[in-house]
Symmetry: C2
Subunit: 216 residues, 2 copies
Amino acid sequence: MEAVKNLDTSTRILNAAELLFIDHGFDGTSMRQITAAAEVNIAAVNYYFGSKDGLFQAVFERRAEPFVRLSLAKLTELEATPQANNPIAIAESFLSAALEMGSNPEYGGLVFVRLLARTYVEPRSILKEKIPQRYGELTRRYQDALERALPDLSSTEVAWRFHFMTSAMFNAFAGNHVLRLFTAQPMVNARDPQRVAQMLLPFISAGLTSPAAVQA
Amino acid sequence: MEAVKNLDTSTRILNAAELLFIDHGFDGTSMRQITAAAEVNIAAVNYYFGSKDGLFQAVFERRAEPFVRLSLAKLTELEATPQANNPIAIAESFLSAALEMGSNPEYGGLVFVRLLARTYVEPRSILKEKIPQRYGELTRRYQDALERALPDLSSTEVAWRFHFMTSAMFNAFAGNHVLRLFTAQPMVNARDPQRVAQMLLPFISAGLTSPAAVQA
DNA sequence: GTCTATATTCCGATAGAC
DNA sequence: GTCTATCGGAATATAGAC
């Protein structure tokens, strides 16, 4: 939680807020905690970001923007190869974008994945309006690619599988365990993202390419 | 959010608190909101549950207890049949326990799954001590059953797949979408749990039974 | 840009009458 | 068991000096 002194004020706030939001959620984090951790004045958040909501949005966008850019680039790259219609290769593109973010210190390293995992379960509807519209291209293009690669599935079924895939993925990286509610000793350890990805890939690949559900 | 008048006070509080916790999280819900929705006096929560933390614990346990009982019964039942070592049958047992909870009004219907999905991402460590110890049998027995059914996988890899499975499952039932952060128009709709289960099953089955990850 | 001081609201919890 | 009244503190936000 050490604030690095030779960064400007707004960056110090973003860094401190990001970690606190991840660990305690939006409602569980106060401006006082944030400004104390960032070693800036209490009034600085409002000066730079207008409000606590504005700060959260800025925290999120700082990570989301490069992630969206990176995963779209990965997909574009893939679509120029013969693997363009291989569903597993498409999943790997998405996974590797998250993984590269997670291993690039410039993008906050692993912090990014945990932030994403925290944000999407936040009850507040802070950024469920403006931001999603801007980034719609991400889901649209991956959904289209998966639909082409899985022609035997309805587009609804493809969307569900894309959803299952991302749920498993981000919760695994972020260390969110449902089962921890029922066991004192956690059974898995998410410390090494490369290892998590290795465990994820067979599960996701098989799940995506499984035959269509039998209609009721 | 209508409080049913002919229930006793503590039940009315539990019902109101459950819905509010699901929608706004623990920190996002105040005692005043709860008592207003339950149409009881502000002091009633402390009288019946001691504190806000105590209330949350009671809210969770009311649903967890029957769920654990039900899923263990399902597994015991399965283990008496020739399907005992079929990983897909084991997954179906777990899934159907959640599904039965979700369709039984006595257990709160769908509310239960949403509560579980909310609880396990709560940043607060409210119930991460006492309760998990009591329910450890659930994860232990399913983990053991899956290990027997998947002898080619290490127990670590089985644990990861169990984790992936539950992540996909509970987030799907609860309507938590990572992708909603990147798209204005949600692609899937979790309203009908039977339908969600139908989409889940092929994905989970294939994921569980996929060959082991290649060691790096 | 950074600070102090403060306005205003809401929080969880409890004392004590009935 | 239920109520009113209130305590003590912490929340976000801002006005205004420097």
